[in-house]
Structure formats: structure tokens, C-alpha cells
Symmetry: C2
Subunit: 340 residues, 2 copies
């Protein structure tokens, strides 16, 4: 479908919504052409070759007010932490460690100084937590939504690099933590849902900002047990489909195995939505999705990395499916977050 | 003044306009703390140490619709080229060469596909012109102004690094080309001024997008003749003051020596503004401002780098002044582009 959408016969007056985010990325990739980078556009981070034992990793992620966050619901400090974490997650998905950040910021002139203080306190806290140093950036005025665009540079030993391409049929699909939490919290907030249970309140606080799985990514990569890896930023359904496309494989996900937190179950129940839908389509969880052999799954446990198996890599021809709790086999549509 | 503005006694309800762009940068630098980078926040690009003979350079510059460009006046192709050139200029100012770009883009959903095509055609053209490869980026929706945020990575041989700090009293201040052109074109456009002279029309076309002085920066840096270097993005008055602050020196600029193009003189005359003001405060010229000894100025000429001497580095106590055409000595206020 994308191959048609990006053809030159595309009517010149159509809007980018007709292509969709990934159609647009495909189209841009063709314009900028093949790259001498080891991995260019189309993985979590760009991988740049250089002399020595490690690749340079580079990634950028933009947060836009009223699209990725709402002022009043997300504090400036949370926003700052998130700007670093979501990029650190991209570095983690390549098996790397982040090292340096540049932060580009568009602010309205009437923005209060305390907003900037708190934003950078959050940036600095998250950066320090990952051993990242903020070395540069850019400040500009905008007459519109606040924009925080962080670039993260990192490194990965060349022999440890993990991409989206290494999934092998028969591998286990596993994730580093519960899925759907971010969507559950966002939608509970939209619905004005309030929790009396202190455990649920604590869950909301803890999951308000994701924490990139850098240690887990590094451990799996350095032990050479991860076949393919991707971070779940757009939702399991979308990111699983990216991984399967890149590796030219299919997947069978087991609904009963999807790790769901108590909070996500609570939110789903109270909003009368299926927790599975939150897990599949929710997005912004920033857990890692890994393919790994059965034996290496044990090895990972010995390394101290908790992985929840959620399914299997299957041949491409079998597609991407969910074996539901009632035993039916349902095709998984890539229904996660897309921008256009 | 900045030292007071950024003190902790600052009232918490004040807006960022009370600090100004550079006060805000100063404040942010304190929050993110000292950096292990060779040069952190406060030069044209961040300089990151690494094993081997070269430093990694990283810079980011954001272009916001209705702040840095107007749709209808700047074509998408020009916008794309500018996004690369302004970052390449920052790399050039460190004596480096750019190598890789990441492009982060916020677009309205109704944006036409042709806009993206033309934007990336411009990005790719400018990138290819500097040997830069576009290796990644980010696409997001915005319900507001279009934002183009390009990150450029480059390298400089360690022994060739030039910063803002190396100006010595007695050095010549010189620039790589004419000043005020961008401001003249922008303001002529605002005033609806039209040129009949084909030479002026050609000047407008050629200067619509700056061309980063990468070859000049490299040549000066590798010959070790540049004391300090900065690119003139905010206007000579602002950027000269940044250079003088970093090097702890003063400057005396000779008004008669300021290189002004025929077009800038034409625009100034027709708008009844002083061409000198356009040159001092205009901004967005992206020429390099260099300090260099008298003898090395000759050396630069032999390297094929055209430098126009515009003044002298003087002791800090003498401040930053202009010797005007009528012989008066006028203090230069940093009056260039600031965002807040």
C-alpha cells in the first residue's frame, strides 16, 4: 500500500494525511537517498560508522504542546524528563548508551521563567539518571504551541548493535514491562477518572513519565541474546509491525500473556474499554520489544533482565495475529499512534 | 546585567522576556551544570571529546513559521536549504566539517505532500552540497506554526578547533563576506520594495538562502590562522559582543570598512535606513567573523580565503565601539536579533 501511496503519480494537491506518517517517512527516505550510515532513516536511532570499536548513535524526538502533552496536566518538570527518556529509549533499542543531549526549545514570549527552570530541572534529572550531559541546544520564540525537541547522541560497541532486522522464526517475542499504562493514564485523565486506591494513585505518579530501559537494552545487547529490538513508542501493534516488516517475519501474540498492570486493568474496567486494546494500541510505554531464543530467555533472566514473553516470531506469510483469550486468531492491525 | 537577571531573587512570576534570550541561556547553563564536553552551551556548536584525532561537533537550529520565515515569501525548497545551511555555518565557525543531519519536523495535517517533497529537496540539495547525509529525524503533527529543527553532526581535527575564546588584542577583525544582505532583503520584502535592476534582482535571488562558509572555516582552521571565530547569525553587533565576551576583549570597528553589497546599499537608500545599521543589527548573513593577526591575513589570502578586515581587537576596558565615517567613536550596542 505504501508503495502505491508514495508513487510519483500521487496528485500534487493531496495533503500529508493521505500518506500517513509512515508513508511520508518512506517518501522522505527516497528523497534523501541511500546513506553511508550503517542504519539510516527507519530504525529507532541512526547508526553512524566511525573509526574505533563503537558506532555513534543519534536520535531526535519532538514533543508538541496539545499533541504530546497538555500544559496543566503535564508539569514542566515531567515534560523535561519525558523529552530525555523518549530519546534514551531509542538509544536503548539499539543496544546503546546515551551520552550527550542537545535541547531545542520554542517558547511563547509570555512563558514564565519558572517554566524554563522546571523544564530544565526535569531534563537535567533525567539526563543525570542516564549519565547524559546536556551540551547544547537552541532557544526560539513561537506564537503557538510550546515545542521541546531533544537530540540524543550515544554509542554502542560495534559487535553489540541490535536493529529491527534480526528477528528469526521460532524466536520468542518478549517485552521489558507492562503495556498500556501510558494510554490508561492518559485516557483516565481525559475521562476525569479518579482513583481512591493509594496503589493506583502511586502507579499513576510512577508511570506519568516513562523510564527508558537503557540498562536492559545494554545487558541484552552485550550478551548478544537479542535478535531484533524496538522500543514501544507508538503502541505494540504499530511497533511490532515495524519490527516484523524490517525482519520480514510474522508474529503470533498470545493475549493471555500480555503483561497488564493493576492500574491499567482498573482504568480499562472503569472506562469500559478492553485492557488488551490499551496494551496493543496505547503507545508511549517505552518498553523494549525483543526477539530472543528460548534458551537465551533463561540467559536474560540470569543477567537480571526481566522479560515477559508475549508470543512467537512466525513466518512472514502467517501475518501478525493475536491468539485471543477465547482461542480465536485475530489479525492485529497497526492501530497505534500516528500523527497524520 | 545578566548576572543580576539570572539570580535566584528573580520574581517567580516574571516572563522570559524579562531575561532575554541570552539571560535565559545563561540560566539554563547553570541548571544543566558543567559539562565534560570540551565546549558546552555557549559556542556555535558543542564540542565533544572522543578517542582519536577529531572532536565530534553537534549543533541544532530551529526554524519557526512566522518567526524565521513566512510561508509565501520563503519557498519550501529555500526553507529546507536554510535549515541545513544555518547549522553548517555553526560547524564552520568551529573550523569543522559537517557530516550527518537529523531533521525534526512539525507539520499541520492539512500540509500538502508537495510541501514536504520540496522541503526535503532543499534539505537534500544543501546537504549534498556540504557532503552531509540525512540519517534520521522525526515527524510530528502541530496545530500551529510549521517547525523545522535540524541537528547537524560534524567533526574537526583536535588541533584545528577554533572557538570564540581565542581573540588577542591587536588582532584584525575580519569577515568572510558582505553584511546586512539578509536584513536588507527581508525588510525590502516587508516594505514591498521591487527592483528593476537585473543585478539587484539577481542579488535577491542569490542571497535568499545563505551559504555556509564551510570551506573558508576549514581552510582558516587547518592553517591555524584564526584566533577566534563565530558565525554572524544574530547580526554583527550581537555576535561580535559574544566573541568579545568569550575572549574577554574589546573591539573597534571601522565603519568605512564594513563590506556592503550593491543590493544592501540600494535597499537602504530606498527605505531611508542606514546601510551600516543593516550590517550591524541585521542578522542571518551567516558570514564568519574571525580574529587574525596582520601577517596571517596575508596567509589567508594565499589560501584563497577572501577576508574583509573590519576593525581591531582592543583591550576589554575599551569596550566595543564603532569609528564612524565622520570620525566619531560610538559604542556598539548588541542590537541584533533576539527572541525574547
Amino acid at each position: 500500500v505504501e508503495a502505491i501511496a508514495v508513487s510519483d503519480q500521487h496528485p500534487p494537491t493531496s495533503s500529508i494525511t493521505s500518506l500517513g506518517e509512515f508513508g511520508l517517512i518512506e517518501r522522505i527516505s527516497r528523497i534523501v537517498g541511500a546513506s553511508a550510515a550503517v542504519v539510516g532513516i527507519g530504525d529507532d536511532a541512526a547508526v553512524i560508522d566511525r573509526p574505533g570499536d563503537s558506532y555513534l548513535l543519534a536520535t531526535v524526538d519532538m514533543l508538541v504542546e496539545d499533541v504530546h502533552f497538555r500544559t496543566g496536566r503535564t508539569s514542566p518538570e515531567q515534560l523535561g524528563r519525558r523529552a530525555i527518556e523518549i530519546n534514551a529509549s531509542d538509544i536503548a533499542a539499539m543496544g546503546g548508551s546515551p551520552g550527550y543531549a542537545l535541547v531545542s526549545l520554542a517558547l511563547r514570549p509570555q512563558t514564565e521563567v519558572t517554566f524554563v527552570d522546571d523544564l530544565f530541572a526535569g531534563i537535567q534529572a533525567a539526563a543525570a539518571g542516564h549519565g547524559v550531559q546536556v551540551v547544547g541546544g537552541n532557544l526560539t520564540r513561537i506564537d503557538g504551541p510550546v515545542v521541546v525537541d531533544a537530540t540524543l547522541l550515544g554509542a554502542v560497541p560495534k559487535e553489540d548493535l541490535v536493529t529491527r532486522r534480526g528477528a528469526r522464526v521460532g524466536d520468542v517475542l518478549a517485552v521489558t514491562g507492562t503495556l498500556g499504562d501510558a494510554a490508561a493514564i492518559r485516557r483516565a485523565g481525559d475521562a476525569g477518572l479518579r482513583a481512591d486506591d493509594p496503589a493506583i494513585q502511586e502507579w499513576m505518579r510512577k508511570r506519568a513519565v516513562p523510564r527508558a530501559r537503557v540498562a536492559e537494552g545494554r545487558a541484552l545487547a552485550s550478551a548478544h541474546v537479542a535478535g531484533a529490538m524496538i522500543d514501544i513508542s507508538d503502541g505494540l501493534s504499530s511497533d511490532l509491525s515495524h519490527l516484523c516488516d524490517a525482519s520480514e517475519v510474522g508474529a503470533l501474540i498470545d493475549e493471555t500473556s500480555l503483561p497488564l498492570s493493576l492500574g491499567t486493568r482498573w482504568a480499562a474496567e472503569n472506562m469500559h474499554v478492553a485492557a488488551t486494546d490499551l496494551a496493543l494500541a496505547g503507545g508511549e510505554d517505552y518498553e523494549l520489544l525483543v526477539t530472543i531464543s528460548e534458551t537465551d530467555l533463561l540467559e536474560a533472566r540470569q543477567l537480571g533482565v526481566t522479560l515477559c514473553p508475549i508470543g512467537r516470531v512466525v513466518p512472514r506469510a502467517e501475518g501478525i495475529n493475536l491468539r485471543s483469550t477465547d482461542g480465536r486468531r485475530v489479525e492485529i492491525q497497526a492501530s497505534g499512534w500516528t500523527h497524520f
